[in-house]
């Protein structure tokens, strides 16, 4: 795939505060790329710089090979879906959606057809005469999408567009957005703080933290191989065990894990272990580390039951296990002593300090 949008060492400061460190990023033509991070991570700043709502302090932005760093917003060939939708309250749905075409002085007939087509794509046919105040949150969301899609941009920027919707509708819209993106073959640059949302929809995810990129990769890459402690904790509640590298292994209170050769002998490191990789019971494999722990709490959440454990060998490290619900687990009582197993290859070993 060719590169559609390229950020080349782009940074942004407000006075002395650097909200985005020099950042380079390539968005490929046709992909669904999500920028994921907590608030203050610089993810919205990137979107605003690409949209032209703010100018970078340094660096260049290129679109389809052309430098657009200093191109004003209204001449940039891509459109935005805003977090608050930003629908024009005095225009009905038809005029909101047709706004971009009206500005391009397209013939009336063409605007009408194009608006009707686009509304059908987003599933809002027959709402032409409604005003934004007469629509539900989900419907406004779709109008905002249609308004951005109607001019056929090659890139659409989406700024946490699902944040204001309730949980059920949000999941429905996630699937809808993903299938819409495949259908219209437009590149989506999506910003969110919701890890599940990013995993569900994206081809690739950019994880950001305090103004820089922590990791770029497919949802699988990031899930199975977090590149830093921040990613491991932010992306899927990994258990973190601290220790030291010795003899090419990470030695921690619960056992030793094989470490990648890049880690220096004697340096501090940590093991990230996914909660669903923690097992209880007696069926040990040779590659497991085994330890006993006290049950702190058992939290039933439908298909999954979460068990909080305090290892006897290291009482300050609380381990979370996510297990398939069942009678055996349901009968676990607080303070019960259990045998815990973790396969050595299931731990991701990371340097303790962020690179």
């Amino acid at each position: 795939m060719t590169v559609l949008l390229e950020l080349d060492a782009v940074s942004k400061s407000y006075g002395a505060t650097e909200v985005l460190r020099p950042t380079s990023l390539e968005v490929k033509d046709g992909e669904f790329l999500t920028i994921l991070g907590p608030s203050g991570s610089g993810k919205t700043t990137i979107l605003r710089l690409v949209g032209g709502f703010a100018r970078p302090t340094a660096g260049r932005i290129r679109f389809d090979g052309a430098d657009v760093t200093n191109v004003p917003t209204h001449k940039r060939p891509f459109n935005t879906v805003f977090q608050d939708y930003a629908l024009f309250p005095h225009m009905n749905v038809a005029r909101n959606v047709g706004y971009g075409l009206m500005l391009r002085r397209r013939p009336k007939r063409e605007i009408e057809n194009r608006v009707a087509e686009t509304l059908e794509v987003v599933g809002l046919s027959g709402m032409l005469d409604r005003y934004p105040s007469q629509l539900s949150g989900g419907q406004r969301q779709r109008v905002a999408l249609a308004r951005a899609l109607v001019c056929d941009p090659r890139l659409i920027l989406l700024d946490e567009p699902l944040a204001a919707l309730d949980a059920g509708l949000r999941r429905q819209m996630q699937l809808f957005l993903k299938s819409l993106q495949r259908q219209v073959r437009t590149t989506f640059l999506f910003v969110t703080h919701d890890q599940e949302e990013a995993t569900t929809m994206s081809d690739r995810i950019v994880v950001m933290n305090v103004g820089h990129i922590e990791q770029i990769g497919t949802p699988r890459d990031i899930y199975y191989a977090p590149a830093s402690r921040f990613v491991a904790e932010f992306f899927g509640d990994n258990n973190i065990l601290g220790g030291t590298i010795s003899d090419g292994r990470l030695q921690c209170a619960l056992g030793a894990f094989p470490a990648p050769p890049a880690l220096v002998e004697g340096s501090a490191a940590l093991a990230a272990i996914r909660p669903e990789k923690v097992r209880l019971g007696t069926a040990a494999e040779p590659a497991d580390i085994v330890f006993t722990a006290a049950v702190i709490d058992v939290v039933f959440a439908g298909a999954i039951t979460q068990v909080l454990l305090r290892p006897n060998a290291s009482p300050e490290a609380i381990i979370t296990a996510k297990l398939t619900s069942g009678a055996a687990i349901g009968s676990l009582a607080p303070d019960a002593s259990v045998e815990v197993r973790i396969a050595r290859e299931d731990a991701v070993i990371l340097p303790a300090a962020s690179p």
């Binding site: 032209g52 917003t73 209204h74 940039r76 459109n79 935005t80 005095h90 971009g100 500005l103």
Partner: protein
């Protein structure tokens, strides 16, 4: 349920409100009454009731001239300051506006200063730059005076709009002018109209600044002032009543509009 004490307190409040109402409006009512009937030695002579004095106003050339000038001054100064107020408000609400405080001070001062100071300052300034007293001077004076009112309403409206509206418009390809025309203007137009009516009411009543700048031409309040110095006639009462009715009408319109705007 209201207790006995509360009920007495309520009655007391109503009486107080009634008293205030009487003190404020009795003189006005008497003025209106005297424009219709004749009063001799404290007795109201109902049989003399007539609208003749109103008809005389209509025939009085100098009063008709004053009404015409008042309307011209009001309309021109309001239109000019409405345009200036919108331009200033658009600029001040921009993120990168320079000298925001200074602009606001410059806009509010002529309205907040004692009119006698504003009037005198304008008079001295105009004589320095060679603008003679008359309609043009009054229009500029009123314009400077009422600017603050329109500006305030428009700025408040603009500040209540989410910044994303303007961003969305330019994102979809609108130039600054197109964004103003299609997005901002429809949003601020009601505020501009309300502010203009309020400004019109102020301009209609304005006396002190006008008296410095009018020269030989007279607006309605100045005409009234001049007539009262000669003697108190039923004609004056009729004129006062006309001024009063126009003011009340404008106030009602403003009140209704502000309330409708608040409910949005």
């Amino acid at each position: 349920m209201a207790t006995r004490g509360e009920r007495i307190f309520d009655i007391f409040l109503w009486l107080l409100a009634g008293l205030v109402f009487v003190v404020l409006y009795a003189p006005v009512a008497i003025s209106a009454l005297f424009s219709i009937v004749e009063v001799r030695r404290g007795d109201i002579l109902w049989e003399t009731a007539t609208l003749e004095w109103y008809a005389r106003l209509w025939q009085n050339q100098s009063i008709m001239d004053a009404i015409r000038l008042t309307l011209v001054v009001g309309a021109t100064s309001v239109v000019l300051s409405a345009m200036l107020a919108v331009a200033l408000a658009l600029y001040v609400t921009r993120e990168d506006a320079l000298g925001r405080r200074f602009i606001e001070l410059a806009v509010y001062l002529p309205f907040l200063l004692p009119p006698i100071v504003t009037g005198l300052a304008l008079l001295m300034f105009f004589s320095q730059v060679g603008v003679s007293r008359g309609a043009v001077a009054v229009i500029i004076g009123h314009g400077a005076f009422v600017l603050a009112v329109i500006y305030r309403l428009v700025v408040t409206r603009l500040q209540s709009l989410p910044a994303s509206l303007v961003e969305a418009s330019s994102d979809l390809g609108a130039t600054r002018w197109q964004t103003f025309r299609h997005v901002l203007w429809p949003q601020i137009a009601p505020a501009v109209v309300t502010g203009s009516i309020l400004a019109l009411a102020l301009s209609f009543d304005e006396t002190l600044i006008t008296s410095f700048l009018a020269g030989n031409e007279m607006t309605l309040p100045i005409r009234l002032w001049a007539m009262m110095r000669v003697g108190f006639t039923p004609e004056i009462n009729a004129l006062v009543t006309v001024v009063l009715l126009v003011s009340i009408a404008l106030t009602i319109v403003i009140g209704l509009r502000l309330r409708a705007g608040g409910r949005e």
